[in-house]
């Protein structure tokens, strides 16, 4: 029960963050650890700034009417 609630909360948080263009940080760290073990993954702060720049700084600014 509590496990399910915690899981639902985690999903909700992930969904809310992705709605504003920030994907899951843990998934990113996991990805870096498994596929690029020689590189140091960005810290959460760096990761967040990187995603903010990517969402608004480039070609992806298209928003709907």
């Amino acid at each position: 029960m509590f496990e399910n609630l915690a899981k639902a909360g985690k999903y909700l948080g992930q969904a809310a963050r992705l709605m504003v263009g920030v994907p899951d940080y843990d998934t990113y760290v996991q990805h870096m650890r498994l596929t690029h073990p020689e590189q140091t993954p960005m810290s959460y702060e760096e990761f967040y700034r990187n995603r903010v720049e990517a969402r608004y700084g480039g070609q992806n600014g298209g928003r709907c009417c």
Binding site: A16, L18, M19, G21, R55, Y56, C65
Partner: protein, 707 residues
């Protein structure tokens, strides 16, 4: 349970949905002329969505697109944990829906309601199932098979360089018109509304605070900062009431349309050159969460309250084409006016943007593309309901231009508006008009065109009553205005930036230096051009004595639907190139309908002899008036200069429409050419990324336990 009994029980369930939908439609059809409960409209709609999703979108998936559950998606191929991430489909659905939901589906149905709710309801339902959701789904699929490339890129590679450049220029022009019309909705909602203007202005320092918080105090804590922001917004709405009531503070926020226009233009320029983390990003968080919250709240409110539809199912304006909110016959102008809630060309840009880069499996494109658009259509339906539950007399008093409501310029505007609207057949007393204004805390609600205030009155009634009278009507009205203004301002800011990049891409074809997005001069120049372009249309719309909305909104609707037609043409070409031409009617039918609608609307807007409909006829009529020397300043036109301004604007809009029509004709030519070429080849010629199987541990990768 065996497979057989599952399928039997599922058949029974679908039969039940079909019968329920038929009963709801039958009830609506049989009770014409009396007011019915909004739940019948909602029930009929949901049944149509369910059936369209279960049967038609499945047909498209299995037979037309032949989606392949084993095929590698770009999210796995380029997995980088940043742009390309295989994502859980429910989470991705949220991302996609938040990206496509905007002001369009809220405003269009409100304006279209002047013909009664029934024509709009039918088009929102038919349009989304046959056209809108098909477009979103197919573009998402096409982009996913091509590494998540953008619409302009897709047109370029599948149809040729020239169509690609034409599509890019069309996108840019459409963006400018969208920004102008959205900004105008905000101006119309805030004109002489110190309460609304204060709350919206307050979001600027609030966003600055959130931006600094997110960068320096608690970096990247989005949800924390958003909670603080929402509390700040509630505070702003409450304080806004006191500011509006304070005689020494209120004048600072009591702005005319022209003042607000300048404020928005200056703001738009500054916002688009400030660092994104300071203003754009935090306000985007606020507007996204507020938007989702308001949509959910409205849905719950309608279900709890079960309000009655006050607007007639069909009004006389559906037949005579001379409605006061916007002029034009049902065909083609109803379809142009509803626009985004049924089919929106702009979604093609979203479906070929970030979403295909996160799609874990091709089969999920159906739920995200087709299902996401059904959800958007549901939002449009709720907007239609909100506009239809308020007294029709109030609706027409709010949405008609002042020149029509008060043609002789009487001092008592409420009396004049009440007399005019009652004369049209929608009886309303001046007291009702002043009482509603007092309820929502505004000086006047008369001629507040643009859709947002009408929707806000409807939403305030629904939410206020559904919560059992919690909060005041004026609180919820300003909440609704704030929610609309907030995400429109975010769209104006983000759209100005996006248009700037598009422009720099296009200018780069002339001078490579202008393409450098890190050059301050190139940035400022491109931003200034973009802001000046939409600012011009906004300004002339606001000062237009005949009401800018009924000039700009059709222009927006036509261009938006044309973009949808172009996207569906691209899908048709891709189907021919896949050698799936036997099923290409799925995109040809909606593309043809959109071409017929937009071209006939464009034709009427340019060449109709009715000055209320046609830009050129209006310009000629006014020119003849000036030439005859009979012009005298009156309540509508204060001076000869204002007539000349309207003549020029109508001519400009007319030439714009003609330009867009040429673009569509050219795109039809390129489409036919590409299809014929594809037919000649024995082999499929679609340029897809070659097949590769999904990794065996795909499920584990999505869950983040393996890579």
């Amino acid at each position: 349970m065996t497979a057989n009994s599952t399928s039997t029980s599922s058949k029974i369930a679908w039969l039940f949905v079909a019968i329920l939908g038929a009963i709801a439609f039958g009830y609506i059809a049989l009770n014409r002329g009396e007011s019915i409960n909004a739940m019948w409209v909602l029930t009929a709609s949901v049944c149509v969505y369910l059936i369209g999703y279960r049967f038609y979108s499945l047909y498209i998936a299995d037979k037309v697109l032949k989606v392949d559950a084993t095929r590698m998606t770009p999210a796995f191929r380029h997995n980088d944990g940043l742009d390309y991430v295989p994502t859980n489909k429910v989470i991705l659905f949220g991302h996609h829906f938040a990206a496509i939901a905007g002001a369009g589906p809220l405003v269009g149905p409100v304006l279209a309601a002047q013909m009664g709710y029934l024509p709009s309801m039918l088009w929102i339902l038919i349009g989304v199932v046959i056209a809108g959701a098909v477009q979103d789904y197919m573009v998402l699929f096409v982009s996913t098979r091509r590494d998540g490339r953008s619409l302009g890129d897709l047109v370029k590679t599948e149809m040729g360089t020239i169509p690609g450049v034409i599509a890019l220029i069309a996108c840019f022009m459409i963006m400018i018109i969208i920004l102008a019309v959205l900004a105008m909705v905000v101006v119309k909602a805030l004109t002489h509304s110190p309460w609304g203007t204060f709350t919206v202005a307050f979001t600027i320092p609030l966003a600055f605070f959130m931006g600094i918080y997110l960068r320096f105090i608690r970096p990247g804590r989005i949800l924390e900062a958003s909670v603080i922001g929402v509390i700040g917004l509630v505070f702003a709405i409450i304080v806004g009431g006191d500011v509006a009531a304070n005689p020494s503070l209120a004048p600072y926020f009591d702005l005319s349309g022209v003042q607000l226009t300048w404020a928005l233009v200056i703001y738009g320029f500054i916002a688009a050159v400030l660092p994104v983390w300071l203003l754009l990003a935090p306000r985007d968080y606020l507007s996204t969460f507020l938007k989702i919250g308001a949509i959910v709240g409205l849905a719950i409110g309608i279900i709890v309250l079960m309000p009655n539809m006050q607007m007639p199912a069909v009004t006389k304006y559906a037949f005579d084409g001379h409605g006061p909110v916007w002029a034009g016959s049902l065909f083609p102008f109803l379809f142009i006016t509803i626009a985004c809630g049924a089919v929106s060309g702009f979604h093609a840009l979203i479906s070929s943007g970030t979403t295909p880069k996160m799609l874990a499996n091709e089969t999920q494109a159906r739920m995200i593309g087709y299902g996401g658009m059904l959800m958007e259509s549901f939002v449009a339906m709720m907007a239609l309901i909100s506009a239809s539950i308020i007294d029709p007399g109030v609706y027409f008093a709010m949405n008609s231009p002042m020149g029509a409501l008060n043609p002789t310029g009487l001092a008592d505007i409420a009396a004049a508006a009440s007399a005019t609207v009652s004369n049209w057949g929608f009886v309303v007393t001046p007291d009702v008009l002043t009482q509603i204004a007092a309820d929502v805390g505004e000086k006047s609600i008369i001629s507040r065109a643009g859709g947002a205030p009408t929707l806000a009155v409807g939403m305030a009634q629904i939410i206020h009553s559904a919560l059992g009278g919690l909060g005041s009507m004026s609180f919820w009205y300003h909440f609704a205005i704030l929610f609309e203004a907030l995400f429109i301002l975010t769209a104006v800011d983000a759209g100005t930036r996006a248009a700037r990049f598009m422009l720099q891409d296009l200018l780069g074809l002339i001078n490579p230096n202008l393409k450098r997005t890190n050059s301050l001069f190139a940035n400022l120049l491109a931003t200034a051009i973009v802001v000046a372009s939409w600012g011009y249309f906004l300004y002339v719309g606001v000062v237009d004595p005949l009401g800018g909305i009924n000039t700009l909104w059709p222009l927006f609707g036509i261009t938006n639907q044309m973009l949808a037609a172009i996207a569906l043409m691209l899908c048709t070409v891709v189907l021919f190139k896949m050698k799936q031409q036997a099923y290409a009617w799925v995109s040809i039918v909606p593309a043809t309908w959109l071409v017929v609608c937009t071209m006939s609307a464009g034709w009427l807007k340019a060449f109709s002899s009715d000055p209320a409909v046609s830009f050129f006829a209006k310009a000629n009529q006014l020119q003849a008036l000036l030439a005859s020397g009979n012009f005298k300043p009156n309540a509508v036109f204060k001076s000869q200069a204002s007539v000349e301004q309207v003549i020029f604007n109508n001519q400009l809009d007319g030439f714009l429409i003609l330009g867009f029509m040429v673009v569509v004709v050219a795109m039809i030519g390129f489409t036919v050419q590409a299809c014929l070429k594809a037919l000649k080849s024995e082999q499929p010629t679609a340029i897809e990324v070659p097949y590769a199987p999904l990794p065996a541990n795909a499920e584990a990768i999505i869950n983040g336990t393996a890579h």
